[in-house]
Symmetry: C2
Amino acid sequence: MKKTRTETNQTIQRVIEISRQQFTEKGYANVALEEIVNEAQLTRGVIYHHFSNKKGLFLAVFEEVQKDIGKQIEIEAMKSDDLWEQLLNGCRAFLVSASETQNQRILLIDGPAVLGWDTFRKMDQEYAMNSLKEHLQLLLEEGIISPVSSIDALTHCLSGAMNEAALWIAESSNRPKTIQESMDTLQTLLNGYRM
Amino acid sequence: MKKTRTETNQTIQRVIEISRQQFTEKGYANVALEEIVNEAQLTRGVIYHHFSNKKGLFLAVFEEVQKDIGKQIEIEAMKSDDLWEQLLNGCRAFLVSASETQNQRILLIDGPAVLGWDTFRKMDQEYAMNSLKEHLQLLLEEGIISPVSSIDALTHCLSGAMNEAALWIAESSNRPKTIQESMDTLQTLLNGYRM
DNA sequence: TACAATAACATACATACTGTATGTATGTAA
DNA sequence: TTACATACATACAGTATGTATGTTATTGTA
């Protein structure tokens, strides 16, 4: 029964991976916990023990998705020293990553409804919006963008635009094309702020 | 049992109204059909008869929300003859309407997850995006905005920005302020396209 | 007007899923 | 070695949805 910490962590990770796949494929509401634990060759007791309930499991998966995407954005943004380029690189990385099948549904479709708005917002802020906001603030201070009536409003609008673009890209039959078109669009929109 | 057509339509409408309130207040997943029919002083048979299942009921409510918002947008946009002003008026009307409690949750949070992406997208297109796209197309043809690499991409980005702004407005403690800030932001972003 | 068909609404039943309570086995620390 | 805590398993209970069937009254037709 009881296992080493390493083994336990492996169990936890395996449950998360399997859940991620199942939630991605069928959506949260259509996945019974029994399916997940069957695939993991465990029983449901594990889930309640380690994650409290189904929602807790989803939260763990959601966090994993957010971390993956955040990492991608970080890597891509840092490929340039230029603040404006960093912003665009980050946008592109987000589009590429969030539009991938294994991230899209959990992050953008099921996330808000399953977690409830408050929790979703809190995590969205922690993993995505705060750094976007800081970056926009930097651009403002460096005089790269013109004074905004609200940095918060810009952060939210830009974030929303990217979320929707990611969903659009995900459903398109030509990913490279729609990614590029989305980037062109975001760039032109942001040129409204460019000094 | 059987009733006149008028009475039946009244029953249907009453079930939709009650559902709308309940879904708004608690979210789709946390409302049992029993609660809805109890309030309506009916039984669950009614729902299965008229709406097929719980999801069908939600779809009816969702459509009602979309129609309400679409109507608001139409009214507000038509308050100007100027195509650009019409766009902005429409944006504002959307923000005001979609950020209202009784619309926000059903439209923006539960909609995609409950209906499934394909259905949600189809209805979103029918009720919102197609007219936004047409309007942007008009602006393009009248030379008011500069040539875009993709009218679709712009439509999606703008739509996404507004959806997110509506959610942000809904959670703020000063609605008029955040509505104005969002409008300022949308306007500046769109100025990237202004000729 | 009478009657048959249909549909609006109700009820009974079955099933699936989540969560709770409890049990078992084992690692770790003293 | 023993006590404790925990990882995992099992049994049970409750809730919610959906399906099948029943009842009643309107509507359409002759």
